[in-house]
Subunit: 331 residues, 2 copies
């Protein structure tokens, strides 16, 4: 019987995940039943929400210890018992951390043949891009000429936010950690400006970059940066909250001290998950694919090679080691 | 030349306003120009936003020292040079703290003759009711069967929130200060339950009252109560912020420590002012008038008699001395 590897979640971390939170096991490879396909994982998507799912501290969404790690992937059908798929078709779905996976064919997303590398279907033309799109258009309703600020600017969602906001003729200001990421954001990704939060409080730099105030803050980090950007919002500002990465590994709770601004300036803050916007996600994916084909989307990724490197890739992403989408290349 | 009294704003208070923040003056009464009407003030509306407008501490919206105090009123036309109004017509508008006031006829709201007492046009069938309506329907989009929590439950907006949410078949839980206000909320206003925040932390009582969790929190107070209610919200909860009365008189900033819940539970928090929803306000006023005529709106008010009592009425309202709308009866 043939086997493949999977990586299990063993226990919630205290703070940053460590290698012993995971275990790689060898399991028998099942055959697809009627209506199913067997898919070989080519690339795995590594995302901030995974830290939250692992629990510990005050993270609420606990994956059960012993379960296979969650995560989206893209790969190729190697056996099909569904009429809509044949061997060689590229697909993208929730794979979990598995080298091979059985998926139902109904509802499975088949990828356009020209979408190469496959990893882009997980990033700018995939979940990260769609998450940026829905946050900007459905939660924040960006308008041309507005000033959009995004944190984790050099990350997968942050860099997609930049592309989509630029296409809507917004001014886009990034917040990222370190001078090299800021340089990358401006020179490679097209940000109008980028502020290094590791250089100290961002207030002065933000005031200089956002001379007309902040209309939209796309929040990927929470904590003190959320507070600092809120201070410089305009009347009617919108704040989609997509991530709170600064909070995931921390036991301390930084209170938001300027919450009174929500009333003073009629601000909307809204946490959202892309899974609640499936119809708009699909619309966004179509739009992003079009822009991608037109060459309008700048895009970078950080690739970790080898299935067994997935835990290390997750830790790398959580500590800001990635530029753009953090990917694990499995084959 | 005839004269009338006005009350000026003298200086921002530190903390709670005091009598010396105001000055009563005698001024000449002007004649209406073409297109204008002269109105005699019958009742003045006393509202939490006035404290914010007075500035001091971190309140942002400063009324200029020396300006006439702002405030809505209802009264009767005593001279008209506008074809749409005649002597004896009842109207409602921004009067300022004036015994007599000149208003432009264009756009001036004429009151239905059966809307008595005139003060109701400032409360449940006026700005307070419309503010409750827009927060519940436009910001929070309440649905039948949902659990709605409202703070300052026995106040003008809080009691209107109860009426409107009940009409939408919501379960309505109030938060108010002291056993007498809580009794009033349940027995007179129709709240399903009411929690006395002065009796200690509200967590246990809220958990018992909101057994299905909180879907909508209509926030009039901010601070620790906002934090405590957020803790018990459901996925997809909505929090219209209409007031932050606990914060207006305070220099301290209570940080919101559970802001991470916004993402964890896809919560929307939105500050709003009724002035940004004029079309919906007018719709709300029509609807409220209909419900009023049908006898569906429970309503109380606290009346302070005499124009010169307006400052004392404001201080009374800010310290929670009112049941329902705080009104100043001028004539």
């Amino acid at each position: 019987m043939s086997t493949h590897r999977e990586i299990k979640f063993v226990k919630p971390p205290e703070g940053l995940p460590t290698a012993d939170c995971f275990e790689t096991i060898e399991v028998p490879t099942p055959a697809p039943a009627d209506g199913e396909v067997l898919v070989q994982t080519h690339v795995l998507s590594i995302d901030p929400y995974m830290r939250r799912a692992m629990g510990g501290g005050r993270n609420q969404y606990q994956l059960a210890p012993g379960a296979t790690m969650i995560g989206r992937g893209a790969g190729v059908v190697i056996k099909s018992r569904h009429p809509g798929f044949k061997e060689g078709d590229a697909v993208q779905s929730e794979f979990g951390w598995r080298e091979l996976t059985i998926l139902k064919g109904d509802g499975l997303r088949k990828l356009a043949p020209d979408l190469q590398p496959l990893s882009s279907s997980l990033g700018i033309v995939g979940q990260s891009g769609a998450t940026a799109f829905v946050g900007l258009h459905d939660i924040a309703a960006i308008q041309p000429g507005e000033t959009v600020v995004v944190s984790a600017a050099a990350g997968a969602v942050g860099s997609a936010v930049c592309q989509i906001a630029r296409i809507s003729d917004c001014r886009v200001i990034g917040i990222a950690g370190g001078p090299e990421k800021c340089r990358h954001a401006v020179e490679d990704l097209g940000f109008d400006d980028c502020i290094d939060y590791k250089a100290g409080p961002i207030d002065d730099a933000l005031a200089q970059a956002a001379t007309d105030g902040v209309d939209v803050y796309y929040d990927n980090v929470g904590g003190e940066i959320l507070e600092a950007v809120l201070d410089q919002t305009n009347e009617g500002a919108r704040v989609p909250i997509c991530g709170q990465i600064s909070q995931y590994n921390s036991e301390s709770k930084t209170g938001l001290r300027n919450v009174h601004l929500l009333l003073d300036r009629s601000i909307k803050i809204q946490g959202f998950r892309i899974g609640a916007y499936l119809e708009r996600r699909d619309f966004a994916l179509e739009q992003l694919l079009q822009w991608w084909r037109d060459g309008r989307l700048e895009y970078r990724e950080t690739v970790s090679v080898g299935f067994e490197t997935a835990p290390a890739a997750l830790i790398n992403m959580l500590t800001g080691g990635n530029y753009g989408k953090q990917i694990v290349k499995v084959v």
